[in-house]
């Protein structure tokens, strides 16, 4: 909760109510109606469903409206292993979500690749592509652990202020994250120079025989 007393009130909010109160109301209403995007990826999705079901029931937190459409969702629960084949779709979904939007990485796989990290077609953590707000460890996190993570997300929202964090009210648009392409391996368009450099460097290295365990 923002308790700062010396707040510089931005131009567009001059003459409005005291910003801390506004923040409080704004955050209170936001955090109590967080709608998750209905996208189950892997094992964790089953625990996510259990959390939505009668025993743990996350509608107590205003999260019961799982939206299959990203346009209506407030946060994205990455519930499981993100593979290279799936990540373009996830990035596209994230781009389609309306601000303010949040990402929760549920489980070891979504956070950092998990037990499948060494595999050739697994993205080692969704944070390589999307900004993650809360990480929930566990494999899979039990429903109570997931709820704990979601409460953490609410805490984070509570800590945000319109002035500093609400970049979605600024004039300039937020740029979408470029959707990666499936090449011989996943091509992240933001890293094109590095990919080029690595692919050419490999030739030199293997020719001079410097690189150990040369890649096929």
């Amino acid at each position: 909760m923002s308790n700062s007393t010396r707040v510089e009130i931005p131009d567009e909010l001059q003459g409005q109510v005291a910003i801390t109160t506004l923040d409080r109301i704004y955050n209170w209403s936001r955090r109590n109606s967080m709608w998750p995007l209905m996208s189950g990826l892997a094992c964790c999705a089953i625990e996510m469903i259990c959390t939505a079901a009668s025993r743990y029931d996350f509608s107590r937190f205003g999260m019961e409206v799982m939206r299959p459409s990203p346009r209506q969702a407030d946060f994205m629960l990455i519930s499981g292993t993100v593979t290279k084949k799936m990540v373009p779709q996830l990035v596209r979904l994230y781009n389609q979500m309306a601000e303010p939007k949040y990402v929760v990485a549920m489980g070891a796989c979504a956070s950092g690749g998990g037990p499948f990290k060494e595999g050739y077609s697994v993205v080692p953590g969704i944070d390589k592509f999307l900004p993650v707000d809360v990480y929930i460890p566990g494999c899979p996190p039990t429903p109570q652990a997931l709820l704990n993570g979601l409460i953490k997300l609410q805490e984070k929202i509570d800590g945000q202020t319109i002035k500093k964090d609400a970049h979605w009210y600024r004039k300039e648009p937020t740029l979408p994250i470029p959707v990666p392409i499936l090449g011989p391996d996943l091509i992240d368009l933001r890293n094109l120079p590095e990919i080029k450099a690595a692919a050419t460097a490999e030739i030199i290295d293997t020719e001079s025989g410097l690189r150990e365990g040369s890649h096929e």
């Binding site: 084949k85 799936m86 779709q89 499948f116 050739y120 077609s121 090449g183 890293n191 890649h215």
Partner: protein
């Protein structure tokens, strides 16, 4: 009722096979080796003359550095009995073999998988595209000389962990700081992504003139991978004529987690927790199948009590799975969430027991080679007994409010029919097969563990539509309750493990194919050992992956709205489909 007479492998040898069927001579191996160019002929012979009408699995083993790529086929009879193994040896360079799709349509997806992961080219395959990776992917990852980006060492345990295990992330060792690996000289600017063009080209669309002279086109509609009803990240590309499905192709691999590649690096024991994550709803059944397979290689048998515990766990898993399957089928029909809520309530009570016994709700990791990890906790059996008095009541309730509902019946009766012969040809298994009138249940057809001691019926229904699959699952829950009641009554006291628990098992060289009737169908593990600490080949015959072969057949001619329900009635889990 299936043919109860068990045909052993030795009996098969006694039967007269043509002389070009060379019996396997390596110790620990079984089956026949045949010349690669005659595989289609052999398959036809097995199917028509020897009644091996069912192709279980197609896979391949890479014996690098030897120039030997072995394609392995498993066949079985739909009347029961042990499976038969056929092998063809190819060279690694020119790995080409005839496709079996013409004889066994069930080979379609599996041959695509072998092509994708091991690079065996199946000539005559109608649609040989990559299946788990994507079109354009560099290399065939299950070849032994193919190395991934985060490659550390050939085998686990890695030497970098102990005794001088300075922590570092795998990212730090890769020049791209990521799990990426590009071929030499790769230029991303010149790369043209396939963008599903190969997929769309493989689907035929026709334009036709209507009676009133208007030309109408058929269109392709994609469902998934992000779709609320695809049970995960599954995708279907359907060709539609109006609302009617003309053609449909399953697209998978969105959850391909390299299970087999990782499995061949792991030690035998390390694979056990990974099997939990195959079909993540039924981790106990996966454990069961894998434990049986390795026990076959090790030639050990678990003690009595462990056998009973295993059966109890496997049957609880079946109930658990069918509850979810029924609940989500109703979800797909539009009964949004009420049946699922009631089903999940019972499931929570089941996984409470799993959690108490194994420590985890879903990823049980409970079985070990030669037994189970630990004995049942105190009071668990009493709890289970009480639960078994509650469950039938709840199942009857489920039956009461769902089976009679007119909406359910209108939406499911006569939809998505799979005729029995088609089901066998497509290598369908589990409830999908039994709802089509084939009473094939491995617990009876080729009994494993102690299933021959229990009194239960193999459920079968004859219409082969969605409604029958739904009813069949209800029937199976009731039969599982029957088995559980007997198991709880008969379970003896005693040890739960043969031998001492050890983390490094010595597995003699050889191969084994172990299978169980998992809730979704025949779950098999094909493990090849060379006597070292890690398996040479670790293949999973995933029932739902192969059941998906029938999806297109069932959907053709139905409305697009029914496709979702038909998929729901197969009951897929993507962890297992994509592995």
């Amino acid at each position: 009722m299936s043919d109860a007479s068990v045909i052993t492998q030795t009996q098969i040898y006694e039967e007269i096979f043509p002389d070009w069927f060379t019996p396997e001579s390596r110790s620990g191996y079984e089956g026949f080796i045949i010349p690669a160019e005659r595989i289609q002929e052999a398959a036809q012979f097995l199917r028509d003359d020897k009644r091996y009408d069912f192709l279980i699995s197609v896979t391949a083993v890479d014996y690098y550095p030897e120039d030997c790529l072995e394609v392995v086929y498993h066949f079985k009879r739909s009347t029961g009995g042990a499976p038969l193994t056929l092998k063809c040896i190819l060279s690694r360079e020119s790995s080409e073999i005839q496709s079996l799709v013409a004889v066994y349509p069930g080979a379609e997806l599996q041959e695509r998988e072998v092509w994708d992961l091991l690079g065996v080219k199946f000539t005559g395959h109608p649609d040989l595209r990559r299946i788990l990776t994507w079109e354009g992917f560099g290399g065939h990852p299950l070849r032994k000389d193919w190395k991934e980006a985060f490659y550390e060492e050939e085998f686990k345990p890695f030497k970098s962990r102990w005794p001088d295990g300075k922590f570092s992330r795998a990212e730090d060792h890769n020049p791209l700081q990521d799990n990426l690996n590009f071929p030499q000289g790769f230029d991303p600017d010149k790369w043209v992504a396939d963008g599903e063009q190969t997929l769309y080209k493989s689907m035929t669309r026709v334009s036709k003139l209507n009676e009133d002279g208007i030309e109408s086109d058929q269109i392709i509609v994609n469902l998934g991978p992000q779709h609320p009803s695809t049970h995960g990240v599954f995708r279907m590309a359907a060709v539609l004529d109006g609302e009617t499905v003309v053609d449909l192709k399953p697209v998978m691999g969105y959850l391909h987690r390299n299970h087999e590649k990782i499995g061949e690096r792991n030690t035998y024991l390390q694979n056990m927790p990974f099997t939990d994550r195959l079909d993540y709803i039924c981790s106990m059944s996966n454990n069961f199948a894998y434990a049986l397979t390795v026990e076959k290689l090790l030639n050990v048998k678990p003690p009595e009590r462990a056998e009973y515990i295993r059966v109890i766990m496997a049957e609880l898993t079946r109930i658990n799975n069918h509850l979810i399957a029924i609940g989500f089928l109703l979800n797909d029909l539009g009964a949004f969430f009420t049946p699922v809520l009631y089903a999940l309530e019972e499931r929570e009570l089941i996984i409470d027991m799993f959690e108490a016994a194994s420590g985890s709700r879903m990823m049980c990791n409970y079985f070990r080679f030669g037994g189970v990890v630990r004995d049942l906790p105190e009071g668990m059996l009493d709890h289970l007994k009480k639960f078994l008095t509650r469950l039938p009541r709840k199942v009857d309730e489920l039956d009461h409010y769902l089976s009679g509902s007119e909406i359910v019946r209108i939406r499911t009766e006569g939809i998505g029919i799979l005729p029995p012969l088609q089901a066998i040809a497509n290598s369908a298994s589990g409830p999908l097969l039994r709802a089509s009138g084939i009473p094939y249940d491995l617990r009876r057809a080729d009994p494993y563990s102690i299933y021959d001691r229990f009194d239960f019926d193999v459920c079968v229904r004859y219409h082969g539509d969605i409604y029958d699959r739904f009813l069949l699952r209800l029937d199976e829950i009731r039969q599982s309750i029957r088995i559980l009641k007997q198991a709880v009554r008969d379970i003896p006291e005693g040890p739960i493990m043969t031998g001492k628990p050890q983390y490094q098992v010595r597995v003699p060289a050889g191969e084994a194919y172990g299978r169980v009737e998992s809730p979704k169908g025949e779950l098999g593990f094909y493990v090849v050992s060379n006597g070292k600490a890690n398996p040479v080949r670790y293949h999973v015959r995933a029932p739902t992956f192969i059941n998906l072969t029938s999806l297109a057949d069932m959907c053709k001619g139905n409305k697009i709205a029914d496709v979702v329900t038909i998929l729901g009635s197969i009951d897929i889990v993507l962890g297992e489909v994509d592995r």
